[in-house]
Amino acid sequence: MMAVVKPPMPTVHADQRSVEAATGTPKIDVQSLNFYYGAKRALEDISLHIYPNVVTAFIGPSGCGKSTFIRTLNRMNDVIPGTRVDGKVLIEARDIYAPGVDVVQLRRRVGMVFQKSNPFPKSIFENVAYGLRINRMARSRSELSGRVEESLKQAALWGEVKERLHESALALSGGQQQRLCIARALAIEPDILLMDEPASALDPIATQRIEELVYNLKRHYTVVIVTHNMQQAARVSDFTAFFWLGRLVEYDRTDKIFTAPTEKLTEDYITGRFG
């Protein structure tokens, strides 16, 4: 699979200007980001802009660094011992790796949904209420219930669970659990929602519901989604970044990536020649 000869890498992604013209100021501005697990460099000199109220997809073969990269955007890699970052990640022009940044505040603004759904072993209601409680976002019980309901509606789960809010979240199906995790992330009203292969463990119908949801979420949120499924990237995203061996090979509008990629490597990947 990986028998492809490593071609020369472009240092700057293509067509940056047409991207900027279409979408204005970037929400996230990544500048020469390198990431290390111990001595091993997992991300090499990544620079890209992520725009507000669009869906940005990261694609690439397993081990290409796309998950590592998305986790640098809310500093989720901080919990892994022996990792190191250099370079900058500016969110609304503030570097999240600058000294003195409050990681808790950062993660409140940059929500995350994981590959494997991870509901807490609590009731459905308490799962969604968790972030609201720890961030003291509801002043009364009725406000709390209102926000829980609102979040479950946004995650297209309300109809299925409204009769059993106080039952265990672990009794839900896999797809419902993942939408619950999305509702939980949305409850604390983040600006940005990171999704790390949110549908990879789900059946096609559950996947379709998540995809519809992602498509609708961009009206209110900046959505970044990692996927190994190229059709999924083509269906839900406005911009696509292709990663390979820890590098960003190409980043452009999704329609351009999938119809007229600039790089030979991107073309080989999306046409299924490797990966």
Binding site: M76, V104, G111, F114, K116, P121, G131, I134
Partner: protein, 281 residues
Amino acid sequence: MTYGMRRRIVSAMFVGACALSVLIALVPLAMILFFVVREGIQSLNVALFTQMPRPVGETGGGMLNAFVGTLILTALGASAAVPIGIVSGIFMSEYKGSRFAVAVRFAADTLNGVPSIVVGIFAYGIAVLPFRQFSALAGGVALGIMMIPIVARTTEELLLLVPGALREGALALGATRARAVFTVIVPAALPGIVTGILLALARIAGETAPLLFTSFNNQFFSTNLRQPISSATVQIYTYATSPYVDQHRQAWAAALVLVAFVFVCSLAARFVTARVQRLRG
């Protein structure tokens, strides 16, 4: 003989050997239960729980003071050991790679293996000698020392079983590390921790040696923590080594009560575990 036949015979032999080993292992338990129930049930009556011991030579009476004493001593031990044990367990699981955590784990395992009579002598040294007084408190100290490593290690092991994804989920919602531990990780492991505490309680309630030089014994009814206090186990020991038949009889009955307590604790522990597994679907 074909290879297939030979294989079946060898298999049957090993299955037979396994079954036999299990039987041999269960024989002591079955015999303990048999004798304790047979001897104890005859003397088991309401008076055992409601009346005080009669003077030597008289028949009848009960062990009210001893059972109350055991409850007090167990509660004293647990009230110190449960919080200390749980917090140590959290420390060991949260800082599992650190040298200090490794040292604490080793210390807990060593403490767990210290003979209970030695724990009793230690408690005598720190809680009896300085006050020149046997006391319920000293007994509680001894039982607490026995219980801490059990609770700490159970807590640690159960916390380590909680999936890392739950921690990440909590952190991603803006929880601090401490918040994630106390609102998500510990609650997720709590049923198992409760089970461990119940089993530890059953264990210390049946200890005699740590109490011999600490809470000593008391032939009167006492709830004074600064005074010596009676306990079911020390009373059984005293009665069993006495020459009076009626005291032997009561010792058997008290032994039956202790065994029943252990049994109830184990059942409760199983019930908690089963209930949680059902909830988790």
